[in-house]
């Protein structure tokens, strides 16, 4: 019954305003009264901002009452309006459930990269500025708190893990965290985690400073503990790949490893095995945009989103790392590869995310 009603309502809205929802038709009027209103998003007001480390900015937001909450470890898409355009990136929530329940606020710990498009804007946000956030998403959360667990974090990968650990009220099983950073002055959330370790005897915190300790030392230290534990892993792509490889070599089952990956994906491996001509680094790609085809030589080393933008096309986009699904397009024909995993797509018509797809063969894509 409900889907039918929904479809009827949608048809009614299409009839009335040629938009799938009345809120979209009325958007320009609604935004006059409530700036920052964006359909499908929630409003969040900046309520605090400080530098947690030299390059990690911690932002606190009071979120709209309609926002449905989160499971510690999940992330949101943060959307800003800058120079006339909406841009968004995913960020893990680093604050606790208790904070949200008592004050309706969440915190994000964002690594600011100077010269990047998005993160430097965060430092320009003033108190009380309204931004948009998505519903909490992702399946990186502490699934079985009753089982012994091993958490491994590196750099800004600590944010979702800190949220999980600091939100935990009832400790049932021993939990250890290996936290790797470059100098303790660059370790975000370290104070809170140390406090937790001192008051919760089931929780052990092991720190590893990459300035003094080689990566292999930490891996060797944690490997003996990894057996029969739930493993939660978050950090830079290279770090995660290494750890996962060592873990699986040591006989840890893949299904016990939970991970979250942000940040630039690894450059993908050239695809000589598929077409046999490895040195040819571009593929003829036809983007059909607004009805007309555009021929682009898309590099096999970059994403299709990059190729389309280089060519002056402007497909919709969001996080640019495969999280938000705003750049999903219809692929008519051809094969692409997932930058993150190296997985190959089929040859036929299907939907792909432009930001994490590289051309493998000639392509036809509807933007």
């Amino acid at each position: 019954m409900k889907p039918l009603l929904k479809r009827l309502w949608r048809a009614f809205c299409m009839m009335l305003g040629n938009q799938p929802a009345l809120s979209r038709y009325l958007l320009p009027i609604i935004q006059q009264f409530s700036p920052g209103f964006l359909p499908g998003h929630f409003r969040a007001r900046v309520s605090g901002k400080y530098w947690a480390t030299a390059d990690m900015l911690q932002l606190t937001f009071r979120v709209s009452k309609r926002w449905q909450g989160f499971m510690p470890g999940q992330h949101i898409l943060l959307t800003l309006r800058h120079n006339g355009r909406y841009i968004s990136r995913p960020f893990s929530i680093c604050s606790t459930l208790a904070d949200w329940q008592s004050t309706r606020s969440i915190a994000l710990c964002c690594k600011v990269t100077s010269g990047a498009e998005f993160t430097p804007l965060l430092n320009q946000l003033q108190n009380e500025t309204v931004v948009n956030i998505s519903a909490a998403q992702g399946d990186f959360h502490w699934q079985q708190p009753a089982l012994p667990a091993l958490f491994i974090a590196a750099g800004s990968g600590i944010t979702p893990i800190a949220s999980m650990l600091l939100s935990q009220r009832h400790w049932l099983a021993p939990v250890s965290l290996y936290y790797r950073y470059r100098g303790s002055e660059n370790a975000a959330l370290l104070v809170q985690l140390k406090q937790l370790a001192s008051r919760q005897h089931l929780f052990t915190l092991t720190l590893s400073d990459s300035r003094v300790e080689p990566a292999a030392d930490m891996t060797n230290a944690l490997l003996p503990q990894a057996k029969d534990k739930q493993i939660y892993l978050c950090g830079p792509a290279g770090f995660m790949q290494q750890i996962q490889q060592r873990l699986t070599e040591a006989g840890v089952a893949l299904c016990t490893i939970h991970k979250e990956q942000f940040g630039p994906a690894l450059p993908a491996i050239p695809c000589e095995t598929i077409t046999g001509d490895a040195d040819e680094s571009a593929r003829q790609t036809t983007f059909i945009r607004a009805g007309s085809p555009h021929q682009v030589a898309a590099s096999t080393q970059h994403s299709l989103l990059h190729a389309a933008e280089q060519h002056g096309l402007t497909p919709s986009f969001g996080c640019r790392m495969g999280v938000c699904f705003q750049c999903v397009c219809d692929k008519v024909s051809g094969q692409v590869r997932d930058i993150r995993t190296g997985a190959l797509s089929g040859n036929g018509a299907e939907q792909i995310q432009l930001c994490i797809s590289q051309p493998v063969t000639e392509l036809v894509i509807k933007l």
Binding site: G84, I87, G291, S292
Partner: protein
């Protein structure tokens, strides 16, 4: 060829520079502008529909309502819809103003429009046999088409087409594909099946008919006839206006027409050249430009279809200077002058003979 290969590539470079300069400065001002137009459009459409019902107080309110609703439809179709569907505002990443998502208040389905207009018309502008917008398969506009008896009354056909313009536009692709009648053309390939075309045509058309002639009259209760006739009139005003503006863009006396053979393997510079010769502008105040969706700067629109249209009047000055430099005719004039040549053309070619419009490239 009037220009040399070197001149064509120099022309290409100069026009590309004009485009890049504008593209580099797109930002907050453009976003604010189009959002304000969208706000005015919504307010005029909504207030227009309310005033239609208030006609029982005084018919003058009804009349203002008709004009406001017509304004809403014209803004939606021209300055917003046409331009958004060209992808002019895709860079904003906006939930509403994106070429992939926008749907407009007209009988024509947005996807069908993008295929016939954005692709066919803008790529093959004024190429006989390839650009069906040259005469819409209904009007004989040059001696490159054989005269038929039905051309005798094409003045009347033109008037009818103008009055029902939104339906002409919406049926355009189905006519080209011979979906309902006629023999399929072997050289036409479509991205979509006939059944998909039919479905889009009927569902979009039905939505528009239900809205204007069933839903709003019904909820107006005793004022239903006022609302129904008001909607009919507003649609008529929009149809006449859009058709008039569009006819002034390509059918004025001095526009050039081309053959498919002339345009084979053309460079981008040559494509630019053809767009300049195949289009015509008309002059007027800012409000007129906005009401035409800046199609009053048809030449600039054809050169730079995905640049936000509010920049066209400023770009026109640069383009006109470039045209003068290469001795390329730049077809512009007052609205009245341009339209009278369009009307003259329709009348002249309703009779046999007349000059060929195809010019040597």
């Amino acid at each position: 060829m009037k220009l040399t290969i070197e001149q064509f590539s120099a022309l290409e470079h100069e026009l590309d520079t004009v485009k890049q300069q504008v593209k580099a400065q797109l930002g907050e001002q453009d976003a604010r502008y189009i959002r304000r137009v969208l706000l005015v459009q919504r307010l005029s459409a909504i207030s227009g529909r309310i005033l239609l019902v208030l006609g029982f107080i005084t018919p003058w309110l009804w009349l203002v309502g008709v004009l406001l609703l017509a304004l809403g439809k014209i803004l939606d179709n021209m300055e917003i819809g046409h331009n958004v569907l060209h992808g002019q505002y895709d860079w904003m990443n906006d939930p509403v103003l994106h070429s992939k998502r926008y749907e407009w208040d007209i009988a024509c389905d947005a996807g069908s429009w993008q295929r016939t207009h954005n692709f066919e018309h803008h790529t093959y502008t004024n190429i006989i046999g390839k650009d069906r917008d040259f005469g819409y398969g209904l009007l004989r506009l040059s001696n490159d088409f054989r005269w038929r008896v039905r051309n005798l009354w094409q003045g009347g056909t033109y008037l009818l087409l103008s009055m029902l313009f939104q339906w002409g536009v919406s049926y355009h692709e189905l006519a080209a594909q011979r979906v309902f009648a006629g023999k399929k053309k072997a050289d036409r390939h479509s991205q979509v099946s006939d059944s998909a075309l039919k479905k889009a045509f009927f569902s979009k058309g039905a939505r528009q008919l239900i809205k204007d002639y069933l839903f709003f009259p019904l909820i107006a209760g005793p004022m239903w006839l006022w609302v129904l006739s008001g909607n009919l009139l507003a649609n008529l005003i929009r149809n006449l206006w859009t058709s008039t503006v569009i006819f002034c863009g390509h059918f004025t006396k001095d526009v050039h027409v081309f053959t498919a053979a002339q345009c084979e393997n053309e460079s981008r510079g040559q494509w630019y050249y053809r767009q300049m010769l195949g289009s015509s502008n008309f002059t007027g105040p800012t409000w007129l430009h906005i009401l035409t969706g800046h199609l009053s700067c048809q030449i600039e629109h054809h050169l730079f279809p995905d640049i936000p249209a509010r920049h066209y009047p400023a770009m026109a000055k640069q383009v006109q200077a470039i045209a003068a430099k290469y001795a390329i005719p730049y077809n512009t004039g007052s609205f009245v002058r341009q339209y009278s040549t369009v009307f003259g053309r329709i009348m002249r070619y309703s009779l046999p003979g007349g000059g060929k419009a195809v010019k040597a490239l």
